[in-house]
């Protein structure tokens, strides 16, 4: 009986959520400071994330828990977290940062160096990582913020493309540092056997793999991070970011210390990226320089762009599409579906599509990016403000 409840609740939440979303879609005042609908939307997202792995067995009517989703969601969840972090920098403050992976890597190495027995940084392997893990989470936030500020100070006089190039270089510098500074970082083979702490397991009654705790942990993490990002956006600080994005010179002449607030944006984004890195090192059990290449930054940026800049729901959706899709294609259901449509497609063997899409996913991403940019430049779930800007650009272009 207990098992039925989450699925039903989720369904109800979906229904009320859709109606609610429609009713607020055209209304501007719900962006008022500390508005309830924003909170509700966050809650809705979290509830959905919790509810999706549950499914109803059509034979018995039982509600079951599908463990495969967890493997996917763990990764998608991590990228959602990174997306929310980068969204502060790119979506709120309008600073194009292509080196986001640097912060992700710092967080990952921070934890891995302390929790891996092969770590060259410490002689004593820490046996019980339980306290270490929880202590590292706030440390990772602080470390990320500090590195963000250190990077921000030299690059903030730069704008637009120049800023993008410099941050891109910074991301590579960090990766090369990790590869080459063998005596500190373990070099290109990375750190492995990183120990993970046992996490509390509130859904103990459902028998699934060990991924579940991580999944729950990350969903809670996403919720917290999204909450903080939302609070920052709807505040004096968020207004300063918006003003900087709209017109930096005017913002300065209204008394906004633009350098300070750009640094804040950098630091906040970096802190969240670094937090994500520590979590990722713990659950993947490794930190390898190769996994911190430019592609991570590009992926996070792409999911923001596709989902909708400045919008948390957009980040969630973008992560599911970009990060989740290749994984979903491994599912038996995907193969079944492709089998099913095979007779309808005369000249191709649709059963190959799953593999082909997975193998050529960057081609697919590229096409998707182009498609979104052409059809809906604000992203699939446009943040209200980005939507307005796009409308405006269109109107102005029409007028000229």
């Amino acid at each position: 009986m207990r098992d039925r409840v989450p699925g039903l609740q989720a369904l109800r939440r979906v229904q009320s959520g859709v109606g609610g979303a429609l009713s607020v879609a055209r209304e501007r005042s719900d962006r008022a400071y500390g508005s309830v609908p924003a909170m509700l939307r966050l809650a809705l997202i979290a509830a959905l994330l919790f509810a999706v792995p549950y499914y109803v067995n059509p034979m018995s009517g039982e509600v079951l828990f599908d463990a495969r989703w967890l493997v996917v969601f763990r990764l998608v969840g991590l990228y959602i977290m990174l997306g929310i972090g980068l969204n502060i920098v790119v979506g709120y403050a309008g600073l194009l940062d292509l080196g986001y992976v640097a912060f992700f890597a710092s967080g990952a190495y921070l934890y891995a160096l302390l929790a891996s027995p092969v770590s060259p940084a410490i002689d004593f392997p820490i046996e019980d990582v339980r306290w270490l893990f929880w202590a590292i989470l706030p440390t990772a936030l602080v470390l990320g913020a500090v590195i963000g500020v250190l990077l921000g100070i030299p690059v903030l006089p730069l704008r637009g493309d120049y800023l993008a190039i410099v941050t891109l270089g910074f991301g590579e510098i960090i990766r090369l540092f990790l590869v080459n500074k063998t005596d500190v970082t373990g070099g290109s083979q990375g750190l492995y056997r990183v120990q993970a702490p046992p996490l509390p397991d509130p859904l103990n009654d459902l028998t699934v793999s060990a991924h579940k705790e991580w999944y729950i942990f990350i969903v809670i993490g996403i919720f917290l991070v999204a909450f903080c990002a939302g609070r920052l956006r709807d505040s004096r600080m968020g207004r300063a970011w918006e003003a900087i994005r709209e017109d930096e010179e005017v913002a300065a002449s209204m008394g906004v210390n633009t350098v300070k607030y750009k640094l804040y944006a950098f630091a906040m984004g970096a802190a969240i990226g670094s937090l994500g890195g520590s979590i990722s090192a713990a659950f993947t059990g490794s930190a390898i320089p190769d996994s911190f290449d430019l592609l991570v930054s590009i992926n996070v940026l792409s999911l923001i762009v596709i989902g909708g800049m400045g919008s948390t729901q957009g980040v969630v959706l973008g992560a599911f599409i970009l990060i989740g899709m290749p994984e979903f294609l491994r599912f038996r259901e995907a193969a079944d579906l492709l089998d099913l449509i095979d007779p309808l497609v005369p000249f191709a063997d649709t059963r190959d599509w799953a593999v082909q899409i997975r193998d050529n996913r960057f081609v697919v991403f590229g096409a998707l990016l182009v498609l979104v940019m052409v059809l809906r430049p604000v992203g699939i779930v446009a943040s209200k403000r980005r939507k307005l800007e796009a409308d405006w650009a269109e109107q102005t272009a029409g007028a000229v």
Binding site: L232, S253, M254, G255, V256, N257, E389
Partner: protein
């Protein structure tokens, strides 16, 4: 502002060059505290450049700028705003996709600072008032203040809420003052042209300046609207006690509202004085109409 004739803004030998062009040449300008001063001159005379230089957008090449007793020639724009000067723009530069209220709230930025109360000085104070040791201590505390600002914002403490509420109330009052009552939820870009000009003034007023710089506040307005803006400028001075320096092309407005007028041509000051005197000045008429205009009547400058 205690002494009657004290200068709120004083520039000495102010020079600014762009490549080969001297946009401002050795300019001495004084705006008396509590006065409404005008700045006129033909297109390209350097009026807007002067605004850009004194507000810190471009650093001056030479010369000094003193605002309310502080040397501001090397200060960044936000500190100059904190000391007490803010401006509007010739080509309206509102935050177009923010509401009227949000625009004014950005203007309130310095006065909605919930961190400043825990520290004796504001950002301006940091630069001006503190001793070297005090300044170092203040800077050293920056990380602590930054962390506090972020945490308090996320936690939305009662103090943050209170400051925010007051900022919103003050902003609504400013909007009412400029005649935009009830329009606070509209996007800046959806406002009619005249209201956008008013909103720019409101945003500048929200920084609580001692000196308000208005760059062609009545540009593109009909005589009736211009007259309303003149009323608003007078109210700024009479009710809010701020000094005003305005650039203006409509002579009816300049002559009607300004107590003292400075005329620029090719970056140089060619005349200065009360409206009647400037109106009759031969050099001014020449600058506007060419040398043939010198023989014309007194209203020539108004053309």
């Amino acid at each position: 502002m205690s002494a009657v004739a004290e200068a709120i803004l004083e520039t000495k030998g102010l020079t600014r060059r762009f490549a080969g062009v001297t946009a401002l040449a050795n300019l001495d300008l004084t705006v008396k505290a509590g006065s409404i001063a005008g700045l006129i001159g033909p297109n390209g005379a350097g009026k807007t450049t002067l605004f850009n230089v004194v507000t810190g957008f471009y650093p001056p090449d030479e010369g000094s700028i003193v605002l309310d007793g502080h040397h501001i020639e090397k200060m960044p724009p936000h500190v100059i705003t904190a000391i007490g000067m803010s401006r509007t723009f010739q080509n309206i530069r509102l935050f177009a996709n923010m509401t009227a209220l949000e625009n004014v709230l950005v203007g309130q930025h310095l006065h909605a600072d919930f961190v400043a109360k825990t520290i004796p000085e504001t950002e301006a104070g940091e630069v001006i008032e503190l001793s070297m040791a005090g300044m170092l201590a203040y800077r050293a505390l920056f990380p602590a203040r930054a962390v506090w600002e972020v945490l308090a914002t996320v936690a939305r403490t009662p103090r943050v809420r209170q400051v925010e509420r007051k900022a919103v109330e003050d902003s609504l009052r400013v909007l009412e003052f400029v005649g935009l009552k009830g329009r606070h939820d509209e996007l800046a870009r959806n406002l009619p042209y005249g209201d956008q000009r008013r909103l720019e003034i409101a945003r500048a007023l929200a920084t609580k300046p001692k000196l308000l710089l208005l760059d062609e506040p009545t540009a593109g307005m009909n005589p009736h609207e211009s007259q309303e803006v003149v009323g608003l400028i007078r109210a700024v001075r009479d009710q809010l006690g701020m000094s005003v320096l305005l650039i203006e092309h409509q002579m009816r407005v300049v002559m009607g509202v300004c107590e003292n007028i400075t005329v620029l041509d090719y970056g140089e000051k060619i005349a200065e004085g009360p409206p009647e005197a400037v109106q009759r000045d031969k050099k001014v008429i020449e600058a506007y109409l060419g040398s043939a205009g010198v023989r014309g009547d007194d209203d020539a400058a108004e053309a």
